[in-house]
Symmetry: C2
Subunit: 206 residues, 2 copies
């Protein structure tokens, strides 16, 4: 009946600058002082794992109301030099519109492209890879893609999300056909005027 330390760690993804990025904090305390790490922390006695993940995200990054899903639990005895720590990893998705706040426990939450991450603390590299793989797989048999967009979006923006996650270009016509026949989006009577020709806005039909 040994009790163990249990943490949650969260891989928070977004799309910025046309590529998939994730949120890292710089650790202030030992071990791995000054190394980059995933946001996360200890699970408290009376909170669920999901609640802990939400709380840590809020405390360390100011982000709330995100899509959040449990990923995998990492429990190698030596994964944390402080002793036995089992971590329940989550991944989360947000549109690139939420403002990041520096947290109290951790310095400088900031976005880093998945393609060129700095060295990470603990086994967080492995966690990131598992999360990225899960996101890629989940993209086309589910609707997670919409979680990375604001409420109203253009079809080009939706395509960009898919391309950033998959890391490859998609054919515009085939992509639009697939989205259309899934009937997951509905057109709005609004247009976005940022480019040359205005683009019709859509929203996710829940």
């Amino acid at each position: 009946m040994t009790k163990l330390l249990v943490t949650v760690d969260i891989v928070l993804f977004t799309i910025r600058d046309r590529e998939l990025q994730l949120l890292l904090i710089k650790r202030l305390a030992k071990p791995y002082e000054h190394r980059y790490a995933l946001p996360g922390g200890f699970v408290e006695e009376h909170e669920s794992l999901n609640a802990a993940a939400e709380r840590e995200l809020r405390e360390e990054t100011g982000v709330k109301k995100v899509f959040l899903e449990q990923l995998y639990t990492f429990g190698e005895p030596k994964r944390d030099p402080r002793g036995r720590v089992v971590t329940v990893a989550y991944y989360a998705l947000v549109a690139d519109t939420q403002v990041l706040q520096a947290g109290t426990d951790a310095a400088d939450p900031a976005w880093y492209p998945v393609r060129e991450l700095p060295a990470l603390a603990f086994d967080h590299r492995k966690i990131v890879e598992a999360a990225h793989l899960r996101l890629r797989n989940k993209l086309d048999y589910s609707n997670v893609g919409f979680e990375l967009l604001p409420e109203k979006f253009t079809l080009s923006e939706l395509q960009l999300v898919h391309e950033a996650v998959l890391g490859e270009a998609l054919d515009k016509r085939n992509f639009r056909r697939k989205i259309a026949q899934k009937a997951l989006v509905e057109p709005l009577e609004e247009y976005r005027h940022t480019g040359r020709k205005p683009a019709q806005l859509f929203r996710f039909t829940s």
Copy 2:
């Protein structure tokens, strides 16, 4: 930095009598005394989660060398009346050839059809449902089906495994074509003579 109790629970599947069954034990201790439950137990300080799952399976059922994969971690604060217990759930697959041994901690490990399970302790019903769903999904984009068979098997036996997991009949010709084009099995120069016409044996090409 609260420490929590951490357990592993294992949903061990097999195919018996042409249907998907799983292994349950009858609890001897409180809480849920005399109720059926999944095999499992506490994770010790210096063992990995996987090692704990393997150990519990061995101790409680005598089963070893099985396919074992982590499923999901359940951590609602009230899921165990004894207090806060987080459980890392696993699912496992064996061919119906291993002999079950009564364990020391738990009475009567025995197989029960997934379709008609008795009332289960804790949130084990939910864990079983998650495991069954995972197994069904994983069946056709991976090779887990082979884990439910002995080394040598006939194509009809393989089809039976798929039918038992999916809970529906499959077309023999379509099934064989799909298996053939995945090139996951190789024919042996051996035949099984149980029925009338002998059936060719195959094995998994690893």
